[in-house]
Symmetry: C2
Subunit: 177 residues, 2 copies
């Protein structure tokens, strides 16, 4: 493995894809939750909807199509394209938790990140990947990982300290290019 | 990572699932290829059908449903159940090459290997998994892997030497239990 390019594993949801805006728009459509809802630091989306519709989140996320039309997070396409010259980029998503998402996520990646081939896409549960750098918004994925961990900012992780944090893709580019 | 159970990554096709019999039955149905066809050592399935229908293989494999009803290879369920007591078992399939297979493979695993949770299923391209043992029929998946490699016998790999070979799941059990 000595002469290979360094490898970066990149999470999907809340790192390159935006499920939060989709949740908000669905909650708005079905229950009138305001579209300008802000998720407070340390909170998950479900902390911001009334108790009786909290669990609706799981219906949304398990629905076929949920992941197919998520917005792409700013600058992720451009920065990943640049990083690809220097690194071997893998997309690593814990998609297996939501089996209906598998095809959607595959097609979403093919549409927005066509420069990342199927060889470099990994849908899994535990992220037991042999890479050098992991960019993720969930610290549970860092627990068993020995490489460099970049915590990608998302509302739910904003109170966490002690991690190397990146707030957006421009910052990822500054650190890794 | 020091106190974890050792991890085994197990390939799907030609290791726990039997696509070859399915190919033969489809070729039989469509072109009268005999059902008792034997694949000679070193050969792939496509070496055993006439030139003009060789590529039909790719149509079969890309069809939704192809992977959903494959036969389970003998003793794989029982031995993996036993191995699970001592090892952390991951199913690692290069399913990403055939996006239509993702849901089928997920459902097939849920049906036949319900004791393996979604956390331990990995659909990928390159198998860059951080495990201790890899059981696979394709040596290309061994190239970049530092752990113990068990070559699971399948017609196409029978001429290869220099690998630790297992001919069936009973032998896997004898080696690893």
């Amino acid at each position: 493995m000595s002469e290979r390019k360094p490898r970066i594993a990149v999470d999907m949801d809340e790192v390159i894809a935006d499920p939060l805006s989709k949740f908000i728009s669905l909650y708005n459509r079905d229950y009138g939750i305001p579209l300008d809802l802000q998720i407070l630091p340390g909170n998950e989306m479900y902390h911001h909807v009334p108790e009786n519709i909290k669990m609706k989140l799981w219906d949304y996320i398990n629905e076929k199509g949920f992941f197919r039309d998520l917005a792409v997070l700013p600058d992720s396409v451009e920065v990943l394209k640049q990083l690809q010259e220097k690194y071997d980029i893998f997309i690593v998503s814990a998609a297996m938790e939501f089996p209906n998402s598998l095809q959607d996520k595959y097609e979403w990646l093919a549409e927005h990140f066509p420069f990342i081939g199927w060889q470099n896409i990994i849908f899994c549960g535990h992220k037991i990947v042999n890479v050098d750098i992991l960019i993720d918004d969930r610290i549970k994925n860092f627990v068993d990982f020995d490489g460099r961990k970049l915590l990608f900012s998302s509302p739910h992780n904003m109170l966490l300290t002690g991690y190397e944090r990146v707030n957006n893709w421009k910052e990822v580019g500054e650190k890794l290019l």
